[in-house]
Symmetry: D2
Subunit: 300 residues, 4 copies
């Protein structure tokens, strides 16, 4: 099964066959960049993009993301990892090497509102989201036709208070079967259990329809309307056990005024939600987001 | 005492000697605009700007702001008001007619942070804020020299827990003596008593250093930093008895990211605060802000 | 043939059956608003939105747009127009009364780039664009399947230097047959003849892929890249005989930097183009755009 | 003479006494970053910020900016430079090592409009611009009092067609005497001669009152008004021999509409101009701007 759009796929694979990315975090100390870049140089790699950040040069945590081109990287990956392990140990690194051509497998969860799902599908179809949309799971039937018209399997798993645990088990089973890397909650209106969340740590991306932490909880646009705010927003974040409190990946706002009724706020909000969600997912797919404590470092 | 900058004052007075503005709110019903504009036409007035808003055409509240030119309006104001009273009664209007050349008297309250105060003074000096900055009141001495260099009296009124009531009485007395129309809290770090607030209803404008209702309360930039938000903001609002809960006049935000430490957020925040406060005050000075329930209608 | 999406159509028709809008332009003088609103009041109309603008209260041109609810307006429209004619004559008005439920017929012209076409179709499908997309005309075959899947007829009319006149005649014939109100050039890469443009004055909306008047002409993103600009934009405008010089309806920009290559500028540009075009068309469909000299007044 | 504000200066000097920055450009090839960071590591330096960019990993130009802390850097600078020369030669680098505490000497040129000058002075006074404002040169007398009140010398050098060459000679002499690093044209309304420009290559920063390349030339706001644009902007760029064609450092825009007359566009424009100019100068002062061909790379 190859859901990644055929027309973009081959071109992409050819263009980036030599490209990989190295993600590192470790206690900050002098010499890290020197060691890593010297290693890459010795491996015949040419750095094409490099971003770094230290929470505090004196005793903080250091983060590094390097994109590089190295001939035949897909064949040499394991060897390179084995060699790099020595450096990693020396600096107590958490690290990961991944091929640019390894396309992440994505599951989309959706309920009744279609705008985020559609935006994801359209951006994917246009080649802007390099993902393998492996399946869509919904607690409603209504989006089946749309989803299947994109060649993506659609699983209807109804959720009630009573069946919730069972439903989640089915979901988890499907996600495991499809070997899913990341789950996108595209306006999925069910709260996931702690157990579900713990199964996919920092792998679940949600779109919250407010500028968090303003208007936490239900009906944020109604809350925003009553409070008379002059800007409304949306927030995409990783899902943790604390509802609406996970690490924020991206936020944006639009200006509103007294003329906007709740329905207008919702309409404008939908625009922001879908834009923000696509941006967050795109960065996640490209390994640009690192979670540190309850915050994200985004190497755009 | 004439604090309104001399160089801009005369030009302004000449240009707008015929201009006035009429502000109206009343239960919505057909015929209001027809009655008001027919009246103005009969009075020889030429409408130059008109804004209206209805919370709901069926049984809501209707708001109207009309700027017009009428020859010799300053002499005819009382007569016009007397005549308009009949129409006002017919539609159960709350209303106000004011001369464009009536410059509002403003008191600025400030503590130790100077950025908002300075921005107000600079914009005033540049002729962007048509106000009479009648006095500055502070619980610290340090801004005296700056303020007095603009020719504005500076009153140092220290505030402690014990002297708070007494201090507020002194403040109120000064405000009454100077016949103050509006009080601007330009980063004034004391909480005003209910009694003080009740003395100047919807006449006190505050700048809050966060995108309300996010980060209500103390140290919002520290809160924003810990939460890892991707945008920070500021909010200008009327002061009511509920701290940080008064009607919002204006808000704005700037993008931040993981590289910004608390000090950076504060620096960027200061830029937003001063911009937002000046905008809110400007609209208030031009009678463009109407409070309805706990929200504002801003006829920009 | 009814292309306006069925699910939104009926709801819309029911909700707005009493609504109409009156558009007026005339030499400015006192009494216009009084006369118009008194007339509407006498006709039992309730104003729900009103916008006005005068290029100069002394001898300029006055523009007025009023949305109102009047019972049975669709049956009374002609009678109301007859009665209003007297007032119109008195003030030398150009004017137009139209029903809110009169959905405009739109033709989309497209070449090979699909992003603008798709955005129009999606926004239309989502009920955001209240239009009757009557047909798509293209000088290429490739978008046929997509367009027809939305139930919209697709006409392939190839254009070469030799066949251009003949092609335009076919186009005009189709547009007349379908009684088209507005033509949207959604990245249609052919220059229309003076004759074609004159046949549909201020009825053709184009999207230009630059922030006009910067980078007039061909390959604007390449030009922008070479010049090293820090923002790129798009412009939607009415088509006149002067290429890229017609009245601007809407523009927007996005920030770019040195890291963006021409391909990135194009990708970001596509986002701006589709957003700007949808906004411009939406305002046109709601009769919010008035052309005066070579500029637009947009009553948002 | 020490014009850099005393209160900020000492704090700054203490905080950053160990900090330096290394700027490099050279033909791209593998191993550059490894060589540079290994060198810095061996010198006991700790990297606090690092930015890099390659126009093309295959045969393009590579740019690197590294900020690092190294104990006693001010005393070891020459030694470090001598040692680095070997690496620089190996990679054919153009490079520069500078101390973070080396405050650049700035000359401001101004004519009659004060907004940009004032913004520079205020931001400098607030400690946001780490510069030594060594002198102001003007072809008018009127800003003398303001400038001197900041403790900055003011030189009045009138310019007429006849005296232009002589005036420029005086200016150049003053700039050399004060050992000026960068010249800011803060709305200086005289065109500099090729000779003057050649004397200070990429050291002259101008603010142009339009979103270049739109509205090149005189009276851009009048041009913008006539064209009916929906956004107006400002551009800060290095001055080269081609008027308005030098490398762009920063641009920004604000939304305008039909209600804005030329005077409004100018007022809004002034806000954008001063903001954009301060941003561009700040980046230049921190060695964040690199000119390549006719474009800038800005390492924000």
């Amino acid at each position: 099964m190859m859901y990644f759009q055929q027309k973009h796929a081959q071109k992409f694979m050819d263009k980036y066959k030599d490209r990989a990315r190295l993600l590192i975090s470790c206690p900050d100390q002098p010499g890290i960049v020197a060691a890593v870049t010297t290693f890459l140089y010795e491996q015949g790699a040419n750095i094409v993009e490099s971003s770094q950040y230290s929470t505090d040069p004196e005793g903080g945590t250091f983060f590094l993301r390097i994109e590089f081109d190295a001939p035949n990287i897909s064949e040499r990956k394991e060897e390179m990892e084995r060699k790099f392990a020595t450096i990693a140990q020396r600096f107590s690194m958490k690290w990961r090497l991944s091929l640019h051509t390894h396309i992440k497998k994505v599951a989309i969860f959706v309920s009744k509102e279609e705008h985020c799902l559609l935006e994801l599908l359209w951006e994917w179809q246009a080649g802007e989201l390099l993902a393998d949309f492996a399946l869509v799971i919904s607690n409603h039937e209504q989006m089946r036709e749309t989803v299947e018209s994109f060649g993506i399997p659609y699983y209807y798993i109804p959720v009630t208070k009573e069946t919730k645990q069972e439903a989640e088990e089915k979901q988890i089973q499907l996600l495991k079967e499809h070997d899913i890397d990341v789950i996108v909650l595209a306006r999925y209106m069910q709260i996931l259990s702690s157990r579900f969340v713990a199964t996919f740590p920092m792998q679940i991306i949600n779109i919250h329809h407010s500028f968090l932490p303003a208007f936490i909880g239900a009906r944020p646009y109604e809350q925003a309307y009553r409070r008379g705010v002059k800007l409304i927003g949306a927030t995409s974040h990783y899902v943790t056990d604390d509802l609406d409190e996970g690490p924020i990946i991206e936020q944006d706002v639009e200006r509103v005024d007294h003329k906007h009724h709740v329905e207008d706020l919702k309409r404008i909000g939908r625009m922001i939600e879908k834009t923000v969600l696509v941006r967050a997912l795109k960065w996640h797919l490209e390994d640009r987001v690192i979670v540190h404590e309850n915050k994200t470092i985004v190497f755009k």
